[in-house]
């Protein structure tokens, strides 16, 4: 978490420094928006805490104890995808740049089938849930976990980049 916030800070500094023509507009303090923000963050944390108390094993955590059908899981993944990235980021890019914005949509969808072809069955056959689990199972636990956490934070930074770009404009 700390690493992500540091990366976020770096990004904010980079944007602020890079955009010399950017004009800062002083806006009034939007109290209702801030209150809504904290209500949503609080509710999300509350639900997470409640759900975390119910999960006991890795299988509970990743696959709800195997009680989810393929269709339900598909809906969950679709829900993930129709999130801020699609609704805010991509529609914003298409709004700003027309069909050019669509290139981003293609890029982040095409990666999924490739992951499926190369990884999915290996994960399932080993009974593991993440790629870091597999690598840690075969190699050193501590080093692999550290590396995976670093790479993950770095990737998250790039995933967030296009949201920041659009929302910041």
């Amino acid at each position: 978490m700390r690493l992500i916030s540091i990366l976020g800070l770096i990004a904010v500094v980079a944007f602020a420094g890079g955009d010399a023509t950017f004009e800062a507009v002083q806006r009034d303090l939007n109290i209702p928006a801030i209150i809504m923000f904290f209500i949503f963050v609080g509710a999300t944390l509350g639900i997470t805490y409640w759900a975390a108390k119910k999960t006991k094993s890795a299988s509970d955590f990743y696959t709800a104890g195997g009680g989810i059908s393929g269709f339900q899981n598909g809906m969950a993944i679709a829900g993930d995808y129709m999130s801020a990235a699609s609704f805010l980021g991509l529609s914003g890019l298409v709004y700003l740049q027309g069909y050019d914005g669509l290139v981003y949509a293609v890029g982040f969808l095409v990666g999924w089938p490739v992951i499926l072809f190369l990884m999915a069955e290996k994960l399932r056959n080993l009974g593991k849930f993440t790629f870091a689990d597999i690598a840690a199972y075969r190699l050193g636990q501590k080093e692999i976990r550290t590396l995976a956490a670093l790479v993950h934070s770095l990737l998250l930074y790039y995933i967030l980049l296009h949201k920041w770009l659009v929302l910041g404009n």
Binding site: Y99, D100, L102, V103, A105, V106, G107, L109, V110, W112, P113, V114, L116, F117, L118, A120, E121, N125
Partner: protein, 105 residues
Amino acid sequence: MNEELANRIQENPKYKELVSKRTKFALKLGIFVLAMFYTYILVIAFNKELLGIKLSEAGVTTWAFPVAAGIIIISFITTLIYVRRANGEFDDLTNSIKDDVRDAL
């Protein structure tokens, strides 16, 4: 998993068949999807006028839109092809390997 069981699975001809078939199939599909995507990106990078040709004289939609939508739909279809074969042929092979070595457990 004990050593003997692992050896028996590895020596099973069905296991070798499964591994080689699945690796080839996954690589073929993976290369196909990546080639399609990178061709699209390279066309954008080096010859974007080609994708900027309008579909019809009157409209504003360019060829880039159906091509991008096509790539998305084709990647859905390749996923479907893979899942069909994995759930059918590959799972049947895995199950028959399991049956063959069940007595070693």
